[in-house]
């Protein structure tokens, strides 16, 4: 198998790249977009963290729901369709999700999914309105979605600590820190 792959790669002299302009820049730009906004980072990590806290199937359902609805919000932002209080909604997402983790809230799955979906709209809308016009759309969207998914995975990874009693306290403390960060964003301190 490895030999065949090696021979196959030797035969390939030129990859099929139809749209080479700005692919690298667009991907990096999209990838960096969620990462360099602390308000986005804490909320997306919180989604993964809460999912891990809730256990299966929420641990995987929430990271499926979030990008789907976030993209819908992103589309609304791109199409210039306004949503009220976007920045407040983003900060509130960190506060609410952080508190849910800190107080070990375990609502039914559909409620958890609805809460995450609601906040995903705000995050997506903010990203959508900020997409640079020059970016390669495909590369930007790919980088943006992958970065979001990786932030969820970071939260899920930290959330797996709940298997141990001490880890549960660490995760709850993490939720508390996220809620405080959200308050700081909400009142313009951070």
């Amino acid at each position: 198998m490895r030999g065949a792959l090696f021979v196959a790669l030797l035969l390939v002299t030129e990859p099929a790249l139809a749209h080479t302009e700005n692919i690298g820049t667009g991907f990096l730009s999209g990838f960096a977009h969620p990462i360099f906004g602390w308000d986005h980072v804490v909320a997306m990590v919180a989604v993964g963290l809460w999912g891990a806290f809730l256990g299966a199937p929420a641990i995987w359902l929430l990271p499926v729901v979030f990008p789907l609805v976030m993209a819908l919000g992103g589309a609304l932002g791109i199409l210039d369709m306004p949503i009220p209080a976007v920045e407040a909604g983003i900060a509130a997402s960190a506060v609410v999700l952080g508190l849910l983790i800190a107080f070990r809230a375990k609502p039914p799955l559909w409620i958890a999914g609805s809460i995450v979906a609601l906040f995903a709209i705000f995050h997506g809308h903010a990203h959508g309105t900020e997409i640079p016009a020059a970016a390669n759309p495909f590369a930007f969207a790919t980088g943006f979605v992958i970065a979001t998914g990786l932030l969820h995975l970071i939260g899920i990874g930290f959330g797996t600590l709940v298997r141990w009693p001490a880890g549960t306290y660490a995760v709850r403390a993490g939720g508390g820190a996220i809620a405080l960060a959200g308050l700081a964003f909400l009142f313009g301190i951070a």
């Binding site: 198998m1 030999g3 065949a4 792959l5 021979v7 196959a8 790669l9 035969l11 390939v12 002299t13 030129e14 990859p15 099929a16 139809a18 749209h19 299966a56 199937p57 995987w60 990271p63 499926v64 729901v65 990008p67 789907l68 976030m70 993209a71 819908l72 992103g74 589309a75 609304l76 791109i78 199409l79 959508g128 997409i131 759309p137 495909f138 930007f140 969207a141 790919t142 943006f144 979605v145 992958i146 979001t148 998914g149």
Partner: protein, 220 residues
């Protein structure tokens, strides 16, 4: 006599045996992905370049690639029995799409329609991956139709156009076959809950990318 047959089968494996070998699939895939193979003495067959150009065309633009990936993910959930049923719709509609594309229909809306198909198919895989047959037929049919419409070459000599269109048709069908087959193989190989959930997460990512691309396409 059975020994002779066994020796013959070892020397020349049957097509079904070849299909079971990962190395064969790796070589075909590499060939399909390479638009410019290293020929030492020019093109051995006239028109081969046009055929290759047509063959890689379905993979050359993001909307087409996203639609094929999304359909592959959806149809891969029903691999192989349900896939074969649904594939017919794709194969037949692609012929109709190529004919319409040559006649000049649908080029302007084709990419947007493919993004809608990618969004719908991948959302369906993320939300309800077992619903393959009915929506799969509709989406595969629509996918084949619009993929055919946007895969037609610019007007030119009839022979060159037929060669390129044939390449497009083969390329689109091969891409769907390998995308679905790859997903189906992975499902069988790693038949674990985390693997099945992994497909749903990838589908959600493809849906998100398609949704953003669609909005950008509408704005532009």
């Amino acid at each position: 006599m059975p020994e002779e047959a066994q020796l013959r089968s070892q020397a020349w494996p049957s097509f079904s045996a070849l299909l079971k070998r990962p190395a064969f699939h790796a070589l075909v895939l590499a060939g399909a992905c390479s638009p410019d193979l290293a020929f030492a003495h020019g093109r051995p067959i006239p028109g081969l370049e046009g055929f290759y150009t047509g063959m890689v065309h379905p993979l050359s633009a993001p909307p087409q690639l996203l639609a094929l990936l999304a359909l592959g993910l959806l149809l891969g959930q029903g691999w192989p029995q349900k896939f074969i049923i649904v594939w017919r719709a794709f194969a037949l509609a692609a012929i109709a799409g190529l004919a319409l594309g040559i006649a000049g229909y649908g080029h302007s809306l084709g990419e947007r329609a493919l993004l809608v198909i990618a969004l719908t198919a991948s959302s369906l895989t993320a939300i309800a991956p077992t619903w393959v047959i009915v929506p799969g037929r509709l989406l595969a049919g629509a996918g084949g139709l619009f993929l055919g419409m946007v895969s037609t070459p610019d007007p030119g000599p009839l022979g060159a156009m037929i060669t390129t269109i044939t390449g497009s048709y083969v390329g689109a069908n091969l891409a769907l076959f390998y995308a679905s087959g790859g997903i189906g193989w992975l499902r069988d190989r790693f038949n674990k809950p985390w693997a099945l959930i992994g497909f749903r997460i990838i589908a959600a990512w493809i849906a998100a990318i398609s949704c953003l691309m669609l909005a950008l396409n509408i704005v532009s």
